[in-house]
Every structure is written in structure tokens, then in C-alpha cells.
Symmetry: C2
Subunit: 221 residues, 2 copies
């Protein structure tokens, strides 16, 4: 029995969904309102954070631990390949998105627009949303800079770096907040990921009361 505790617009939950599909691992999805700090959920992951992956008797939580666990347990489709240096670069980029992108963009733009709404913590703050949009453009430029020099974000191979970056952007894209037209290199890279079979289930997401933006499902956006 494999189960992923997730929340629809949680970027890290989305990243694990993509990784599991890439590795062709079957699993069930379990929607968790993590902000409610349900006791049974805290017994799985005391930090109260998503995602949490249940794999038989194994309980694996936190994105970094899940990525590495999947790589060690299911190596047939590698998502962290290359030399020690190349692996370090992929891991640097995972940290970039889970830490820097998350602080700069998700902590402002995404949280203001979603978590605040779900938890009834008041209206979104327009200053925070504006700051998030400015930061997002800088991150899209950085993605463009990388993919002008490399085939994929982390190097020659499709990897967790692409997965975590695309997962973050897909959550924002659901809300229609990614200015693709001003970032052609990042757009071309995202289009390549969007057309992968592993991305398909994400594109079918339709959150009750929150319809996806027009370009979200569109492969030719």
C-alpha cells in the first residue's frame, strides 16, 4: 500500500506526485488540510508539513527525504544521476526552490491567494502579492539563464531539479500568475515538462471552488 498525503496546490506535494509517476510507482492520494494540524497526521509527521509518503511500513516525510528515499528504493528510473558534482548541483537547485523560491514567491503570492482563503485568515495582502510577482520574474529569468546553458535545469538529464521547479510553477500557473509571455526560455522548458506523461494527472486537477486558469491545461500555452 502506497499513499501520498498531499494538498492540491502544495508545490512539494505536486513534486512528489510527478516523481512517483516518472518512476512508474502506483500510489493513492490522500488530501490533507495540513493547516488543521490533525492529530493522526501529526503522528505521521510531527512537523505538520506536507507531503508525507507512506510506502508499506515506511513513513517518509519532508521533500528532501522523500526524493532521496525514492532514489534509493526505486532506482530504475533515475532522477538524480551524474557525477558527485552533478548530483550536488541538482541538490543545490532543489534547495533553491524549496527554500529561496518558496520564501520569495510561494510565501507571498501563493500563500496570500490560497492558504489565507482556505483558513479564513482575511483578505490577501496586495503588497505581498506584488512583491511575489516581482520575485517570480527574477526566478523565471534564472530558469531561463540555466536552460540556455544546459539541456535541463540541473544538467544533461531530467532530474528532481526540473520536477521541483515545475511543481512550484504549476501551482502558480493554476492561479494564472506566471507571466510566460515575458520569459520565453523558461516557457520553452516548462512546455517540455508539461508534455511529459508524468505531468498529466496534475493538469487534470480541478479544485472545488477554484477553477484553474485558462492556460493551465493547455500544452500549447
Amino acid at each position: 500500500m502506497r499513499r501520498l498525503y498531499h494538498y492540491w496546490l502544495c508545490p512539494e506535494s505536486r513534486a512528489v506526485r510527478i516523481a512517483l509517476c516518472e518512476k512508474k510507482i502506483d500510489f493513492d492520494l490522500e488530501f490533507e488540510k495540513h493547516w488543521e494540524c490533525r492529530e493522526d497526521f501529526l503522528s505521521l509527521n510531527p512537523s505538520g508539513r506536507l507531503p508525507v509518503f507512506i510506502d508499506g511500513d515506511s513513513i517518509v516525510s519532508e521533500i528532501y527525504a522523500i526524493f532521496e528515499y525514492l532514489e534509493e528504493s526505486y532506482p530504475d528510473v533515475p532522477l538524480l544521476q551524474g557525477s558527485v558534482q552533478e548530483r550536488a548541483e541538482i541538490r543545490r537547485l532543489i534547495s533553491w526552490f524549496t527554500k529561496k523560491f518558496s520564501d520569495d514567491v510561494e510565501g507571498t503570492l501563493l500563500k496570500e491567494k490560497t492558504i489565507k482563503r482556505f483558513t479564513g485568515k482575511g483578505a490577501p495582502c496586495s503588497t505581498a502579492i506584488r512583491a511575489g510577482k516581482i520575485n517570480l520574474s527574477a526566478h523565471l529569468d534564472y530558469i531561463g539563464y540555466l536552460v540556455e546553458r544546459r539541456r535541463w535545469l540541473g544538467g544533461d538529464h531530467f532530474s528532481y531539479a526540473d520536477i521541483i521547479a515545475a511543481a512550484h510553477l504549476s501551482a502558480l500557473d493554476y492561479l494564472g500568475d506566471v507571466p510566460w509571455e515575458r520569459h520565453s526560455e523558461a516557457k520553452e522548458w516548462y512546455a517540455r515538462i508539461k508534455s511529459r506523461p508524468s505531468f498529466r494527472t496534475l493538469l487534470q486537477d480541478n479544485i472545488p471552488g477554484m477553477r484553474p486558469s485558462r492556460q493551465y491545461m493547455n500544452l500549447d500555452f
Copy 2:
């Protein structure tokens, strides 16, 4: 040539110093005022975050990437050993301290007392410091809970989980902010780590203009 870009009270820089000493790897320390965003430093790590480890031609940044790099490049002294599940648990705890502890405690207590002072960004906020102290007690309880059930934080073996936790606490202990007397299990665990040879150089730290607390160097605190 091996070099670690660090800042004295940066917990993650401290963690890499301990890990390098555990693995008996020689290196030079390079003090970096990361908040000044020096251009040459940003060319090493565009996120502007510490620590950054230079190992010959390899540039490795972000704590997660550095830990895994050291494990792959210098496996003689393992700091991430055990089954796939045990490794996942160590990695979960690394995330606990780099993310949750950092947000709950370092983001309030440590930053208010140090970075604000160094960068001249005004007086420390007493409300934030008070919140940090309350959160710190909860984290010390959690450490106590774990070491009552296991030999080391992550399981049977001394690991990166102990290193990152002790590194965070050592920075706070430098300031005299850890209420050891109310957390005997956590104190006993920290005393064991404090007496390891790898911890010695940290205990000799003496930051200009900021003397360590009385118990900082004391092995019998």
C-alpha cells in the same frame, strides 16, 4: 585546496565545520558577511546563502547538497548510515532543523540578536525574542523525546541529524539562550556531542565584540 565560506553564528556553517572535522577533512575557513551580497560570493552561490564548500574544482552550496556531497565523496566516516528507512529518518530530522527549527527559533531569536546588530537594522524586537524562546523550549522537549527512545537523534548512530541540531543549539548557546537546566535529556545528549573532538574548534570561537556566554565552552555546563 578546500575552503568553507562561513559566518561564525550561522548554524548551517557550523554544521559543516563539525561534519568536516568528524570526517577528518582539512579545510580553511573564509569568513563571509553574506548579508553584503558580495558579487564574487554570489558567483559561487547565487542564492547568497551560507555555507559554501570549495573542494578543488567543486563548488558545493546549500547544507543538504553539502552533507550528501561529503557522504558520497568521503565515505570513510559515515554520517548517514543505516537502512533506507533509517536514512530517511536522518534526512527528515535534517529538514526539521534546517526548516522548522530555523523558522521557529533562528528566524526570531538568533536573527534578532545577531544579524540585526551586524547589519545595523535597528534594535532587537523583544516580542520576537520571547516567541523564539518559547519555541526553543518545545524543540528541546522534542530532542529529549527522541533521545529517550534512541541512542542518537536519528537512530543508533551519530549522524548529520545530531550535527545539524547541535550546530543550531551551539549558536544559541554562544548567546547564552539555551535553558539547559529545564531540559535534562537534551542537555545530556548535547554534553555527549560537546565532548567530541569535532566540536572543539567551535568551542574556541570568540567573535570580536561578542563574547560567548559563560557555559559555552564549559563541557560540564
